[in-house]
């Protein structure tokens, strides 16, 4: 045996955490000598060596988790029993040979929770195909040889799927969670901003308008707990500002926008943006938003259905400002218009509350100036 794989140490335990190695790489070990102490969900267990041999590699340090069936350590000078694919694939079946009983693949465990026959599993391993969460075409969703070959071909043609990391992974999780929990309704409306000076700071106007909306309709500046069916009305307006980066979506929080001077808010916003781009923003600055602003209009897009991330209950999106033909006092004129999209969680707020919030936002944005 080249690799000693973590056996199922209980009854269907999927993993174990390494507590302590009793040996080091390079050690000569004897059969039944204790190699390592691991902790499973049920017990702290000492694992003995299945054979005599020299250990050349330990997989994992104390504190790390090893899944059942993954290698724990490697013995020197043994033949690799994982096999490589050359020519025709052998469809492993139970031909009764003694080496079918290979140490470490205990006949239960996590692997068995995926529905495929040992032959198919062995093929998936040889072709290095990820089978997690794949629904097979066989009976009861079992993965078949054809499925594995198709997955392998996909990998070959398009390259392997790259697992998400960091912020992007967090975004995927948050969005899925939001999608699963929130009952979203999106209202869209245009604001006529013809009266604005050309130098007007659009983001600051939007921030000011959100504050005005919250003051008019405090329900949307709240946190909602869907499990307890409880809400917290928040006094302070802490605005999450969506910032797009190559690494993914950041939403730093601009504190207390209802009570700060506009210059102060602008400086704060600049600082947050810089910190995000330099990746120096502390995690605390990304937490505690009571409502969110997404100004995707700086890039492209008119209306959207922005996603509310719990526990907050509303998000305002602003699209690209455009010149548009509008009727004003029975005349056809061309004015600059800003499209708005407000999504709110209908569990936490009524349609009327959301519409009144949006009304206040529009009225504030329609003002010629706010300074």
């Amino acid at each position: 045996m080249k690799y000693f794989k973590l056996p199922d140490l209980g009854e269907g335990l999927p993993e174990a955490e390494i507590v302590e190695w009793m040996i080091s790489e390079g050690d000569l070990v004897k059969t039944d000598q204790i190699l390592v102490t691991v902790e499973t969900a049920k017990a702290i267990i000492e694992i003995p060596s299945p054979q005599d041999g020299v250990v050349v590699h330990l997989f994992g340090q104390a504190g790390e988790t090893i899944h059942t069936g993954e290698p724990l350590l490697e013995f020197a000078g043994e033949e690799d029993d994982s096999g490589t694919v050359v020519g025709e694939l052998k469809r492993a079946s139970d031909n009764g040979s003694a080496d079918h009983f290979f140490i470490g693949a205990a006949p239960s465990t996590q692997a068995y929770r995926q529905t495929m026959t040992p032959a198919v599993r062995s093929l998936a391993q040889r072709l290095d195909v990820a089978t997690d969460h794949v629904h097979g075409s066989g009976q009861d969703g079992q993965l078949t040889v054809n499925d594995i070959e198709r997955l392998a071909k996909t990998d070959q043609t398009h390259g392997k799927a790259e697992p998400l990391r960091g912020v992007r992974k967090q975004m995927a999780r948050n969005m899925a969670l939001a999608h699963a929990q929130v009952v979203p309704v999106t209202l869209c409306e245009d604001v006529d901003i013809h009266s604005w000076a050309t130098t007007e700071d659009i983001t600051i106007r939007l921030i000011h308008a959100v504050a005005a909306g919250c003051k008019a309709e405090p329900t949307l500046n709240s946190w909602f707990d869907g499990q307890q069916l409880a809400r917290r009305m928040l006094d302070q307006i802490n605005l999450g500002v969506a910032v797009d980066t190559a690494q993914g979506l950041f939403v730093p929080v601009l504190r207390d926008i209802g009570n700060r001077k506009l210059e102060d808010i602008r400086q704060g916003l600049n600082r947050l943006r810089e910190d995000v781009i330099n990746r120096t923003i502390p995690p605390a600055e990304l937490q505690g938003a009571s409502i969110t602003l997404s100004n995707f209009g700086t890039i492209a897009g008119r209306y959207a259905s922005p996603i509310v991330v719990p526990p907050s209950v509303a998000i305002l999106g602003a699209g690209v400002i455009r010149e548009q033909v509008v009727p004003v006092a029975n005349q056809v004129v061309i004015h600059r218009m800003m499209p708005l999209s407000l999504t709110f969680d209908h569990r936490a707020a009524t349609g009327g509350e959301a519409a009144r919030f949006l009304r206040a936002v529009i009225d504030d944005l329609a003002k010629e100036s706010i300074s």
Partner: protein
């Protein structure tokens, strides 16, 4: 008011924890053969037990229930039962089953997940392992009833733990054994722990043996780490049963020196001091001391036997590991004498799907 019934429970021990005779010993102990045989078998039982746990830890064995601390009970039952008696075991009777004729590779096969190990021809009329708790006690009374109806001079032995005595099955079995005067020996291996439930929480009665009184059968307590006391108690109970004098409940006081099974970690609920104290009373060292004093066993014999046992075990394991994997239909084949129609269908599908690419053919 008058007393209409009085009962007492006797406790017997001949060898103290340090291997000294506490009272005059029975005459059979004047010859070394039986005691040396007990000793040798206990050593084998313990070494095999250790090795099976190592096999489980390295993925070569399924979940396993250790017999550590019950060696004396195992070997005395195994050597005192007659071949035509019937054993209705529970899941800790590995050495007892082997003394009844089960091969080591069959024993290992069963715990490795192969039903053939539980249906070995060498088991004769003995029952397969009962993993459910206390159900075997009722099976034993069924077998004993058959013997009684046929007028046979045979005995049935069934073993359970202290936890099992709290179950209805156990109480029902005692009751029917008393009502019908059945030839059964109920051996309770009171090892003080039912998984994580200590004996003190298991039952309000000071002894488990006294449950026999309510059923109208003989009940007694014996030191389960003392082969001599066990020998006396088991021999008497078997003789009573074979002579048609009815059933006996033997409560053997032992200690589970192991975890409940390999899927358990007793350090999470058991005081280490208690465990250390129990090691002072364990059965093998106790008998070894006695045999040394008698001059019936020495270090040369010890070392030779340890080596021989290691070889026996290694050979047994090799035979076990070389066995072909069981066919998939064994999942079903050992459940019924005649397979119900619904299971026949499932069986056919199992076999079909086990073929290469099997599920394609549906």
């Amino acid at each position: 008011m008058e007393t209409i019934y009085q009962a007492q429970i006797n406790f017997s021990r001949f060898l103290s924890a340090s291997g000294q005779a506490e009272q005059p010993l029975p005459s059979w102990t004047e010859q070394p053969d039986t005691l040396v045989s007990y000793y040798r078998n206990m050593v084998l039982a313990r070494q095999l037990d250790n090795k099976i746990i190592a096999l489980q830890r390295t993925g070569q064995m399924g979940t396993y229930a250790s017999l550590l601390g019950a060696e004396a009970i195992e070997v005395v039952l195994g050597e005192r039962m007659q071949p035509n008696d019937v054993l209705v075991p529970y899941y800790r009777n590995h050495a007892l089953q082997m003394l009844r004729g089960l091969s080591m590779e069959d024993l290992l096969s069963y715990w490795g997940g192969d039903e053939r190990g539980n249906a070995a021809a060498a088991m004769g009329e003995d029952f397969p392992n009962a993993v459910p708790i206390a159900t075997q006690a009722l099976h034993a009374t069924g077998v004993a009833t058959a013997m009684k109806i046929r007028g046979e001079k045979r005995a049935v032995v069934t073993v359970c733990g202290d936890g099992a005595t709290s179950k209805g099955d156990f109480m029902e079995a005692l009751n029917v054994a008393g009502a019908w005067q059945l030839p059964v020996v109920f051996m309770v291996n009171n090892n003080q722990w039912a998984i994580s439930v200590p004996r003190s929480l298991q039952c309000g009665a000071p002894t488990l043996a006294q449950k026999a009184i309510g059923a109208g059968i003989r009940g007694e307590q014996v030191d389960g780490n003392d082969v001599i006391a066990l020998h006396e108690s088991v021999s008497n109970a078997l003789q009573h049963a074979r002579e048609g004098k009815g059933a006996t409940l033997i409560e053997a006081i032992s200690y589970r020196l192991s975890d409940h099974t390999t899927a358990d970690d007793a350090t999470r609920y058991r005081n280490n001091e208690e465990l250390k104290a129990a090691w002072e009373r364990e059965p093998i060292k106790r008998l070894q001391t006695f045999l040394h004093q008698k001059g019936w066993w020495d270090e040369v014999q010890e070392s030779a036997w340890q080596n021989e046992v290691a070889q026996l075990i290694q050979q047994g394991i090799e035979r076990y590991l070389q066995q072909e994997n069981p066919p998939v239909e064994h999942l079903i084949d050992f459940l019924y004498a005649e397979l119900p129609a619904a299971l026949q269908e499932q069986r056919a599908r199992l076999i079909r799907n086990a073929q290469p690419g099997g599920s394609h053919h549906e």
